[in-house]
Each structure stands twice: as C-alpha cells, then as structure tokens.
C-alpha cells in the first residue's frame, strides 16, 4: 500500500509539473487529465472508492473533455504559449507557496477540520452513506449547489440564444454567415 502510494505520489507530482511546464496548452490539458486520474488513485488507495470514481467521472471525464474541446475548437493550440507577464508568474508562485505552507502546517499540527464531520472515516467510500448525508445533514448546501448549477445552465442557454450578437465575434457561425453574405453582395 505504502509502495503504491509512493509510486502514484511521484506520478501525480510529475504530471502536475507537466501541466505547468508543458510547451503547448493541449499537452498541459492532457497532463492535467493524468494528474486528476492519479489523484483518483490516491482516493482509491485510502479506501474512498466512491470519491475516486466520481473524481474520474466528473473531473477527468467531463470537465477536462470540455477544456480539451475549447482548446481544439478555438485554435488555442497553434503554437507554444506566449510568455506570461511577470506579475502573473510571481503572484501565482506566491499564492501556491502560501497554500503549500498552509497545507504543511495543517498536516504537521494534526488540525481537525470541521468540514469532514458528517461522514465517519470508515464509510467515506460507501455511496449509501455519502447519499444519506447529502440529503439529510447537508441538504441545504446540496440544494444551493443544485440551484447554482441550474442558474449556470440557464445562463448558458441565454448566452447561446442571443441572436443580436454572435457569441464570439469573428469566430462563430454568425461571422461565417456574415462574410458569406458580404461576398454574395460584392459579387452582386
């Protein structure tokens, strides 16, 4: 178990570094898929099978597919990424450092977080227990999240339905039709 944890720990860190240092956005995205997958392996090693499966379904399977889609369709992968401005670089480094410090402090001082109080440690991998807690103890938070996602869906439909303005000027279907119309009028 410990050996597996070390192997997958190293793999997780390596693919996380790959996300940061990969030369092209698509490669970064694929490294991120790897990172999320290996994180799921860690969950599984700790006995939280349910969380591991959800991690792969939701993050690696759905969200990252969307990210890869956006990279492909918007042509963001034309060449190597431009150099980020120094401000982004330094602020990112500072925040990551702070977060790492916080995590190290938490782990070395055996802090107990109140967040995990609902599910006892032994049953964290049991879908029945997670489901029970979701619709009893955390019903309020659960419904709020459902409302938030619903609002996001309505927002997406509204945005996509805006017929006066194309979604992405110069790139969307409207722009293609517009240029076709222009060409037709020029020919006429």
């Amino acid at each position: 178990m410990i050996v597996a944890m070390w192997i997958f720990g190293v793999l997780t860190v390596l693919s996380a570094l790959g996300v940061v240092f990969a030369p092209r956005p698509l490669h970064s995205a694929l490294w991120l898929v790897g990172t999320l997958f290996f994180l799921a392996v860690h969950f599984a090693l700790m006995g939280a099978d349910f969380i591991a499966a959800l991690q792969v379904v939701v993050y690696a399977g759905a969200i990252m597919v969307l990210v890869v889609f956006v990279i492909m369709l918007l042509g963001l992968d034309e060449g190597p990424t431009q150099n980020q401005s120094r401000l982004t670089l330094y602020s990112g480094a500072i925040f990551c450092g702070l977060f790492l410090g916080l995590l190290l402090f938490a782990f070395t001082h055996q802090l107990s977080f109140p967040i995990g109080s609902g599910v006892s440690n032994g049953s964290v991998g049991d879908p029945r227990e997670v489901g029970r807690v979701l619709v009893t103890d955390f019903l309020y938070a659960f419904e709020v999240i459902a409302l938030l996602l619903f609002a996001a869906i309505i927002g997406a439909v509204l945005l996509a339905n805006d017929r006066k303005r194309p979604l992405m000027p110069g790139r969307g279907l409207k722009a293609v039709q517009g240029s076709a119309n222009d060409a037709a009028s020029v020919e006429a």
């Binding site: 698509l26 099978d49 499966a53 792969v56 690696a60 399977g61 597919v65 889609f69």
Partner: protein, 356 residues
C-alpha cells in the same frame, strides 16, 4: 509464501480475463465478417474456407488481419507529433480493456481455506468505475482526430465526442432505477441477487425484476451500442462522408488497435448488459454455485450469454442503416432522456407501492 500465492492468483486471473476479452474481441471480428457476408451478400468472407470446411475459415480471418496490419507501413502525417499520434490508439484501447476488471464472470471458487472470487477487482462502486472508464475513452478519439491535422478526422472526432458524451447520460440515467432495486453498485452482489424466480416461473433476472425494467434494458442497450460507435451509430467514421472519420490518418497496427478497441468495447457492452439485466453467470432455475464444477459452469454460462449479445450487436450493425447526425442527437436528448427519466420515476413509484 501466502502473500506470494495471493499475488500469483491475481496475476493468473488478470491474464485469463484480459486474454478472454481480447480473444472474444478477435472472434467477434470473424463473426462480423461472416455476418456481413451473409446479411449483405458481400463476397469474400462467405468463401473463406480451408478444404471446403467453412468453420476453418476462421483461421484465414484471424491470421490474415494481424499479418496485414503488421506488415503495412505505419504512416504518420507530416508535421504531426509522433508521440501524440501513437498515444491516441492506446488512450482509446486502455480504458475499454481495464473496465472488464470489475465484471464477475463466475461464482467464487471455494478451496479448503481460500475463496477465490472470479472477479479481478472487488470494487463496491463497480458500475461507477465502468462509467468512469467509459468517459475516459473519449480522449482516444478526440486526440486521434486532433493530432491527425485532417479536417475529416477532426469532424469525426467532434461527432464521436458529442455522441459519446450525450449517450453516457442516457446510459447512466437508464440504470438508476435498476440500481435502486438492487440497492448496491457492486457487480458481484448484483449477480448474486439474480438467482431464483419471480412470479414463480420467470428467472429473477434484472430485466424481469420490475414491470419497467425492459424499458431500461432497451435504453441501456441502445446507449452502449452508441458508445461503441458502430452502425447505426457510426457517424464518427461514416465512410460516405468522412473517409474514415478520426481513423483516417491511421494505418497498420495503430488502426488495428482502434479496431480491436471497438470490438473489445462490444464485448464489454455485452458483459454489462448480461450482468445488469440477464443474470450474469446465473442459470435460470438451477443454482450453479452449488455444484463442484460450479465456477466453470458459471463462467461458461456467462461466456455464452456475452457471446450471444456480441452476435446480436453484429446483426444489428449489419441490418440497420445509419442515422443522420441530427436524428442521432435528437434520439438521445429528446426521446431517450425523457423516457429514461420517466422510467426512473415509474420504477421508484413501483418500489414505494410494493413497500406499502
């Protein structure tokens, strides 16, 4: 010593399962060729025979395909990353093969002091694991279409991913009612619950467990067929429009990997249908696990059921014409999804009525 034996057992089980999946997939390619020849009167496969023995033609197919693939030139388009180009077939194949790990294929073997379950990984969330691997399979097709730098490939992979993501939803929702009946996500326990009879004469298989489960079965079967990306759902590689879709720029062994992955997907889909709806390794009216040779009989029953569904999928593939793309997505979002939700509500209502 005991640890070493456990590890050895796991290794043997892994070898047997992976070997069985790949062999079944290879055999399905032969069935596919024969069925295509029979159904559409295609010349070639119906004449593959050795000294007049029709069945011996299986050797022709099983040897000729790999030899052809291995000796072909491995062509990589200009300006394409060699690594990514090779990565795509593996990313398509890998999730399909490992999703077989949670499928129980027989009753446990009980030796004196040791119980060997005929299942590689005893996950308590087996179904979620299979769904997760299914959602990872999208990357193979997406990547293949993207790295090829070919418009046909890109179109094919976009179609494939939209199709796979859409049908994953109906696939998941159609079995929620069934899982509520089983009260578990664990495949081994699901199969164990399917012994005995309902109403006195029907085998207590998933499909007969509630009056609505046959709807769930049809929805699930159509969804997994759409996930395998074969006719009538083969829009991603429709030859008449897109050359070969996301596989256009692949040749030789890489193409064969995609192809074999597709057939492995058929086997996994059949196994899922059998485990969820048709009793897994259970034989109707007879409790197989009571016999001394129970595990062997169970595995054979399971293999027979899976093979039957593989053949059924091949027959459907060669008898039904291809959908149009908008019809495909309309079928999923406007027809199957509402029916799946209605089926879920009906099943839950039936359960509550049964309880009261």
């Amino acid at each position: 010593m005991d640890d070493l034996l456990s590890v050895g057992i796991v290794v043997v089980k892994a070898a047997v399962v992976m070997g069985a999946v790949l062999h079944l997939a290879a055999l399905t390619t032969w069935v596919e060729r024969k069925a295509s020849a029979l159904i559409q009167n295609r010349i070639g496969a119906n004449r593959a025979a050795i000294f007049g023995f029709d069945l011996a033609g299986i050797i022709n197919t099983l040897v000729a395909d790999p030899v052809k693939a291995l000796t072909k030139e491995d062509f990589v388009p200009k300006g394409v990353s060699q690594f990514m180009h090779s990565l795509a077939p593996f990313m398509g194949m890998f999730p399909v093969i490992i999703s077989f790990a949670v499928i129980p294929f027989g009753p446990p073997i009980v030796l004196d002091d040791r119980v060997i379950t005929l299942q590689l990984a005893e996950l308590n969330v087996g179904i979620l694991y299979v769904l997760a691997m299914g959602s990872l399979a999208v990357y193979g097709t997406v990547l293949a279409g993207w790295v090829s730098k070919n418009k046909f490939s890109l179109m094919g992979s976009l179609r494939a991913s939209a199709q796979m993501i859409s049908y994953e939803i109906t696939m998941g929702i159609s079995i929620i009612g069934l899982l509520a009946l089983y009260q578990t996500l664990d495949f081994a326990s699901i199969v164990e619950q399917q012994s005995g009879t309902v109403l006195g004469f029907l085998p207590k298989w998933g499909i007969f467990m509630s009056p609505f489960n046959w709807i769930a079965f049809i929805l699930f079967f159509v969804s997994v067929m759409a996930e395998t990306k074969r006719a009538p759902f083969d829009l991603p590689e429709s030859e008449s429009e897109l050359v070969a879709g996301y596989m256009t720029e692949y040749s030789g062994m890489k193409f064969l990997l995609f192809w074999l992955g597709e057939f492995a997907e058929i086997v996994v889909a059949s196994a899922l249908v059998v485990v969820l709806f048709f009793g897994g390794w259970q034989l109707p009216y007879i409790d197989v696990s009571k016999f001394t040779l129970g595990p062997l009989i169970g595995a054979m029953v399971f293999g027979a059921k899976v093979s039957a569904f593989c053949v059924l999928q091949v027959i459907i593939r060669w008898s039904v014409p291809r959908f149009r793309y908008d019809q495909l997505l309309n079928l999923c979002w406007k027809l199957m999804l509402p029916i799946a939700l209605g089926n879920l509500v009906a099943t839950i209502a039936w359960m509550i009525w049964l309880d009261s």
